[in-house]
Amino acid sequence: MEATSEPLLDAKSEVTNQLVDFQWKLGMAVSSDTCRSLKYPYVAVMLKVADHSGQVKTKCFEMTIPQFQEKKITNGLTFIPQLY
């Protein structure tokens, strides 16, 4: 049963999700029980994603700064608008 209103994006398959919200924070790991001198900054991200049925899930993950700055992420995404 197809909906009569056009969805903004035809989801190709059930596994593709839409991003509903993107929250981030910059943290600093200082010390831990296994390593007294951690001292590394990291980016923590919380994504809210909706699947094809509209169910919203939360996904959290972290990246180190070098990972965040990796060309793949920024270059890849900045390339996309050029295609529109």
């Binding site: 190709k12 999700n17 990246m63 700064i65 295609l83």
Partner: protein, 244 residues
């Protein structure tokens, strides 16, 4: 039996660390059983010759066996690959050493490696720390210190990375792939050339299988994300430029 008793009355070990966990007898009986002299330094100590040097320091070689030992310890302690038993290490790297003597030695090396990694020592701190270890009772030889120093210098980055991974209890971003599809037509509309960005994130917790998250973005969303990413970038720049 008399001979055994007599041997054990010779110059004794000065450090508690060097003593095997069980009675001093096993030290003598093990030694007496061999037909050839055991490791360097021990013969001198038993027969009363030579300076009184800490047993643990004198009896274990540095060089390749120690390097192998440190590698095994790093695998187990930092990189999450346990399963290398004490007995396997001993028989492969120090076959002439008794298990009772090997155990405290292994514990000492493990302790030293953990201390160095925990403090994330730079090279100055490392030299100072290892020098102190060579000077103390039941410490290490300068040969062993040199091997440990070389090991830390070449493995520091990897060990640190493992420690960082272990301390991250959220999922980490293991990989990111993206693709842009050009939708030409669909059943509902005759739209031509509506690009859709598809990004696949590979996420995973330490020691667990990866989870894949696939997201679709239109042009508006992509620009929003890019704006957010530049805000994060700005924040990072501010943080890094601040003095500690």
């Amino acid at each position: 039996m008399d001979f055994a008793e007599q041997s054990c009355k010779l110059p004794t070990l000065t450090s508690e660390e060097a003593l095997p966990p069980r009675s001093p007898w096993c030290f003598c009986t093990g030694y007496l059983g061999t037909s050839r002299p055991p490791w360097r330094g021990k013969a001198q100590l038993l027969w009363g010759a030579g300076p009184s040097q800490s047993m643990a320091a004198g009896e274990f070689e540095g060089g390749k066996p120690l390097n192998g030992l440190l590698n095994a310890l790093a695998q187990e302690t930092f990189h999450g690959h346990p399963g290398i038993t004490e007995e396997l290490l001993r028989s492969q790297l120090y076959p002439e050493v008794l298990p009772e003597e090997f155990r405290p030695f292994l514990a000492k090396m493990r302790g030293i490696l953990k201390s160095i990694a925990s403090a994330d020592m730079d090279f100055n701190q490392l030299e100072a720390y290892l020098t102190a270890q060579t000077k103390k009772q039941g410490g290490i030889t300068s040969d062993q210190a040199a091997v440990i120093s070389k090991f830390w210098k070449s493995h520091k980055t990897k060990i640190r990375e493992s420690l960082m991974n272990q301390s991250r209890w959220n999922s980490g971003l293991r990989g990111l792939s993206w693709r842009v599809d050009g939708k030409s037509q669909s059943r509902h509309s005759a739209q031509i050339h509506m690009p859709v960005a598809i990004i696949e994130l590979e996420l995973g917790k330490y020691g667990q299988e990866s989870e894949f998250l696939c997201l679709e973005f239109d042009e508006v969303k992509v620009n929003q994300i890019l704006k957010t990413l530049s805000e994060v970038e700005e924040s990072i720049t501010t943080l890094i430029s601040q003095p500690n």
